[in-house]
């Protein structure tokens, strides 16, 4: 029962801060930080208990019952959940500490802590869910928290539309998720994991006729349909192509948010969901291929965009998109344990990189453009060294955590069939690009000559201890998580009777060597381009103008969506409004004008033309309905 406190502690912190925030403003961290640290301690306890092989189930209360539907809010802790619990509470604790320094003196200090506590609660409930509906509810709740946080603390006016875009893009994904959810309920009569999974094998032959309402026939396996619909949600939340457009814009929020929500936790919910529902995905090879290919495309696309961005947070953001692609690809190839492993290590080193960016941004008084940085490594030694550790892990440098997890994905991918082999090659290519852009970031920001605004250059100094301590801890974990044996810890949950997903062999060594080589080549290339020949990048950009501009403008995906979806819808809506729903505003204004100038104004108002139109529409409605029912 004590594990119920894992989510409830952050919730309590949120409630206290929400109700009494005004009175404890500058001391808000005294409420939030202990709460989340205690959560972390309990999560470690749960992890140890689960490691011994048990599964913890805690129903909290009955949420909905009616007819066949019976849904509880409950907690379900198995090995998969335990890993996520550690990641969420761990990163959240560090971000809480970091926030003390980062948001110091902000008028909304308590509110900010309140929101991240609320986010932590929602994220914990998401991973602890024992049924799909609870998962979905908190899936939306984390999105809402993210929206609130960006909305309250945007750093530039351009963020206005961006935060809303993030939310709307996610609605598209969630539309699919919700449909998938309804379909699961329709097919299995339940939404609880433990009811669905045993019932799966009974429904393997069930198909749905998608063209039924239109009189056609297109039989699709119900598993494929469910898996793909739910995956749409993951595409939105985990920023996969084609719904990846929101994540980089979400970077307009404060940096602790980027680290917590947009790197380590919320965006990984999609990967977690696919892994959680592995028994469903395993039954649909079609859906699995779609998942794998989507992941691979995202992986490559994200990396190519990250090459040219100049805002340091955006580089890291696109890198996140790309790394999420790795994880999704791994899940799509059946290597769930590898995907989750990478999720964990990535959570550590990407949070580190974001918090490092935040440290640089504070030191430079909210400058985010790389071109106005340079030469920072002597001024900000702790930030620099931890950043290098993070970048090494991201680039897959041997013996860092990122090396082990990325290698694990590539080896599993290679051994999973023809599609897997093709995608492994893409993965290796991406590894090269990753190493290149991550060290481009290091070299341009921390090395070379300083392009810092002279105003700030003089009193440039390392931020406070509450900021550097989390960096050091995360740097340690960026190496350490590679040695905890996570894949073998996770593998038992994903074994559903088939042979082990990852047979290691001599191929494994070959892939490992290739990945390492790619990483080293990428780093060397970055060193060659940005340190040895500082004028080379510009020449390259000119020489490959079209490619460069494409990457810089994120391959024009935003513009395409604007032209294809947003503008036509709005145009159609206003046409419809003008023509179908009468000239309302004009009509009213004219009506008033006439009412004032003419006598008998009450009659006038009624006879301004619209009233007859409205009555006419009703009459037409009667005729149409009569024709429909009687003829």
């Amino acid at each position: 029962m004590i594990y119920a406190l894992i989510p409830l502690l952050p919730l309590t912190a949120f409630l206290i801060l929400g109700l009494a925030g005004r009175h404890i403003n500058a001391r808000a961290h005294l409420v939030a930080v202990p709460a989340v640290l205690l959560s972390l301690a309990l999560s470690v306890g749960a992890f140890i208990e689960v490691a011994s092989g048990s599964v913890i189930s805690l129903p909290l209360y009955t949420w909905l019952t009616s007819g066949t539907l019976d849904i509880h809010i409950g907690l379900h802790i198995d090995r998969l959940t335990a890993v996520m619990l550690l990641l969420v509470t761990g990163v959240s604790s560090l971000v809480h500490v970091y926030t003390i320094g980062y948001m110091h003196g902000d008028p909304g200090y308590a509110r900010f802590f309140g929101y991240i506590a609320l986010f932590t609660f929602s994220m914990l409930m998401l991973v602890l869910a024992d049924n799909l509906l609870q998962l979905f509810v908190f899936w939306e709740a984390v999105g809402l928290c993210s929206y609130l946080l960006i909305g309250h603390w945007y750093e530039r006016a351009s963020a206005c539309a961006a935060a809303t875009k993030a939310f709307l893009v996610n609605r598209v994904g969630d539309f699919g998720f919700m449909l998938g959810l309804l379909l699961v309920w329709y097919s299995f009569g339940s939404l609880n994991y433990l009811d669905i999974f045993p019932a799966l094998h009974e429904a393997t032959e069930v198909t749905m006729n998608l063209l039924g309402p239109f009189g056609g026939t297109w039989e699709v396996s119900v598993f494929t349909l469910i898996a793909l619909l739910l995956f749409t949600g993951a595409v939105g939340k985990s920023a996969q192509v084609p719904l990846h457009v929101w994540l980089p814009d979400a970077m307009e929020g404060p940096t602790p948010i980027s680290a917590l929500i947009h790197a380590a936790t919320m965006v990984t919910a999609g990967v977690f969901m696919v892994a959680r529902l592995a028994p469903i995905y395993n039954l649909s090879p079609t859906a699995m291929s779609v998942v794998a290919i989507t992941g691979a495309v995202t992986m490559v696309l994200g990396a190519t965009i990250a090459l040219t961005q100049t805002d340091i947070k955006r580089v890291v953001a696109y890198s996140t998109v790309s790394q999420l692609g790795y994880m999704i690809m791994a899940c799509g190839l059946g290597a769930y344990a590898s995907g989750m492993y990478h999720l964990l290590t990535h959570g550590a080193f990407k949070a580190l990189l974001f918090l490092g960016c935040g440290s640089v941004i504070i030191a430079l008084h909210h400058e985010q453009d790389m071109r106005h940085m340079g030469g920072l490594k002597d001024k900000l030694p702790i930030t620099y060294w931890t950043f290098v550790v993070g970048s090494l892990a991201l680039a897959g440098f041997p013996l860092t955590a990122g090396f082990f997890s990325k290698d694990d994905i590539l080896v599993s991918a290679w051994s999973s069939g023809d599609l897997g082999r093709t995608l492994t090659l893409l993965g290796l290519l991406t590894a090269l690009l990753t190493a290149f852009y991550s060290f481009r970031l290091v070299f341009v920001t921390f090395w070379g000559t300083s392009h810092v605004d002279p105003h700030h250059a003089e009193h440039l100094h390392e931020p406070s201890r509450t900021i550097t301590t989390p960096l050091i801890i995360l740097a340690v974990f960026s190496v350490l998580t590679g040695y905890l044996g996570i894949p073998s810890f996770l593998e038992p949950i994903f074994q559903t009777g088939g042979e082990p997903a990852v047979p290691h062999g001599s191929d494994g060594l070959m892939i490992m060597a290739a990945a390492t080589a790619m990483g080293l080549i990428g780093m060397a290339a970055a060193y060659y381009v940005y340190v040895l020949n500082p004028d080379l990048p510009e020449r390259l950009a000119r020489q490959w103008g079209r490619l460069y501009r494409g990457s810089l403008n994120k391959w024009y995906v935003d513009e395409a969506y604007d032209c294809l979806f947003v503008r036509p819808t709005l145009a159609a809506a206003s046409k419809l409004w003008k023509h179908v729903d009468v000239h309302v505003i004009d009509g009213t204004v004219n009506g008033i004008a006439r009412a004032i100038t003419w006598g008998g104004w009450l009659l006038r108002l009624v006879q301004s033309g619209q009233t007859q139109h409205y009555a006419l529409a009703m009459a037409v409605g009667i005729v149409v309905l009569t024709a429909y029912l009687l003829l």
């Binding site: 949420w63 909905l64 019952t65 009616s66 007819g67 539907l69 979905f136 509810v137 908190f138 939306e140 709740a141 809402l144 609130l148 909305g151 309250h152 945007y154 006016a157 206005c160 539309a161 935060a163 809303t164 939310f167 709307l168 609605r171 539309f175 919700m178 309804l182 379909l183 309920w185 329709y186 819808t569 709005l570 159609a572 809506a573 419809l576 409004w577 729903d581 009468v582 309302v584 009213t588 009506g591 008033i592 009412a595 009450l602 108002l605 009624v606 301004s608 619209q610 009233t611 409205y614 009555a615 009703m618 037409v620 409605g621 009667i622 309905l625 009569t626 429909y628 029912l629 009687l630």
Partner: protein, 489 residues
């Protein structure tokens, strides 16, 4: 001729009490000084509280009274309790709003109460003529209330337009009732049901009567294509009245409509569900698309309320299609949850003042989060709930409606409704974006500000509590709705 028992009077005690309160308000209003008129507010609220207790005690004791004209049951009690609650909120909101608008009409509260009595009669009548009586009492009071801002042409226009079109629709409803009487020989719902079950269902007279009843109710429910009065009237009427119309009048109309179509015309389910399918799709499409381009918040909310009637109709179609009552229960649930969020949103609009007038354009919400963080946060919660995003009440309502559609074998209808729910997020969140992500242009005296008052705080607290609590723990309300529906014959 009609057997009359004084025990029947006791069962309509809530109605009688409210009528008495309304009369007291009308009589005392002219003699009271403006400063004493607050007493009328407390009188009205006290009466509602007493009635709430009386009606709650009737849930377990169903009875048919006045020889079958009126029925007291859990179904009626569900709606009545909702209506008391909404009326109470309306009175509290009006208490602040009328002061801001300098509308010192005590009789306003009298009309609110009379209208409430009309609604109560509507949801508890098992005879079409009683029902007609109820709709007219409700509507006539609303026509007056809509035109209360006598100095404002738009308010008068709204009132006049509402009256003319309302009379037109009443005529259609009455015509439908008379045709149904001609076809079945009765106006009592049980007798109509019995007559239908022994007849050929393709009888054109019966079907035409059904169509006319549908149109009559369609007007009250603001279902496309009988919705056109809604934006004009909602925009023109005083905002407290708009909130009352959008929530209470809609709820009462749904209550009466469902009773007639299930208890009386249940035998024609197959026919009317096909018809409602068309109306439902048209309402979902037009309501949501047209809300996208509105620049006035009241108009936007008007189209939004049209769209919400569309979602509720999904549950009606599901019932007609499958014949199970979970569809109807989902409609009850949907409308009661809709009440909280819509009323809350209108309350915020009402109290956002710009100079002496209402700031009801979307621009007026610019930067509200900076000037009034609490009001902005509440509006955000209402908008998120209207968009159907968990963990708010709006999500629970949509979930149940969609599930009833899936259960009835109409997954594609759920999918269509879901698409429009996604589109609706755009216009609800646009308001949120304006509130949160734009700087207030200037802080001069003409820039919009929220006028807070104790009564408004109570209204907002009730509304937001409903949205949040029923989002997290909807089970009691769900069970009440199921219990209410099981009382329908």
């Amino acid at each position: 001729m009609m057997p009359f028992s004084s025990a029947d009077l006791f069962l309509i005690l809530p109605e009688l009490l409210i009528i008495t309160a309304a009369c007291i308000v009308f009589v005392l209003d002219p003699v009271l000084r403006t400063s004493d008129k607050d007493g009328l507010v407390w009188l009205s609220l006290g009466t509602l509280a007493v009635c709430m207790g009386l009606t709650a005690s009737q849930i377990q004791a169903p009875a048919t009274i006045f020889s079958g004209l009126v029925v007291i049951d859990a179904y009626g009690a569900f709606w009545k309790l909702l209506l008391y609650f909404v009326t109470g909120l309306t009175i509290l909101l009006s208490h602040s709003y009328l002061k801001e608008e300098r509308l010192y009409f005590g009789e306003y509260y009298g009309f609110v109460l009379l209208s409430l009595v009309g609604m109560m009669v509507m949801v508890s009548s098992s005879d079409l003529l009683t029902l007609y009586l109820g709709t007219e009492l409700m509507s006539l009071s609303l026509y007056v209330m809509a035109g209360l801002k006598r100095s404002e042409p738009r308010s008068l226009e709204a009132s006049a337009k509402y009256f003319v079109l309302g009379a037109f629709s009443s005529g259609i409803l009455l015509y439908g009732i008379s045709l149904l009487y001609g076809a079945t020989g009765s106006t009592r719902l049980p007798e109509i049901a019995a007559a239908i079950s022994s007849r050929n269902l393709d009888d054109p007279l019966l079907l035409f009567a059904t169509i006319l009843l549908t149109v009559g109710f369609g007007f009250k429910l603001a279902v496309v294509p009988f919705h056109m009065w809604t934006p004009d009237v909602y925009q023109g009427a005083p905002t407290s009245v708009t909130a009352f119309m959008a929530v209470a009048a809609k709820a009462a109309s749904f209550g009466a409509f469902l009773r007639v179509f299930i208890e009386g015309l249940g035998g024609l389910k197959a026919n009317w569900s096909a018809m409602f399918l068309i109306l439902c799709l048209a309402t979902l499409i037009l309501g949501n698309i047209l809300a996208l381009v509105q620049i006035n918040v009241k108009r936007m909310l008007a189209y939004s309320s049209i769209a919400h009637a569309g979602y509720a109709l999904v549950g009606v179609v599901a019932t007609g299609h499958m014949g199970n009552s979970s569809g109807i229960a989902s409609v009850l649930l949907y409308l009661s949850l809709y009440a909280f969020m819509t009323f809350g949103a209108f309350a915020i609009v009402a109290m956002l003042r710009k100079g002496g007038i209402e700031g009801d354009n979307i621009e007026d919400f610019t930067g509200l989060a900076k000037r009034h963080p609490v009001a902005a946060l509440l509006m955000l919660i209402f908008m998120v709930s209207l968009a159907g995003i968990p963990p708010t009440a709006g999500f629970i309502g949509k979930l149940y409606v969609f599930m009833s559609a899936v259960e009835a074998g109409l997954p594609w209808l759920a999918a269509v409704a879901l698409i429009f729910a996604v589109i609706s997020a755009y216009y609800y969140l646009r308001l949120v974006m304006v509130m949160y992500m734009r700087e207030p242009s200037d802080l001069s005296s003409t820039s919009p500000r929220m006028v807070m008052s104790p009564s408004l705080s109570i209204v907002l607290a009730c509304a937001v509590a409903g949205v949040v609590i029923f989002g997290i723990y909807p089970n009691p309300l769900v069970n009440f709705a199921i219990q209410a529906v099981s009382a329908l014959k």
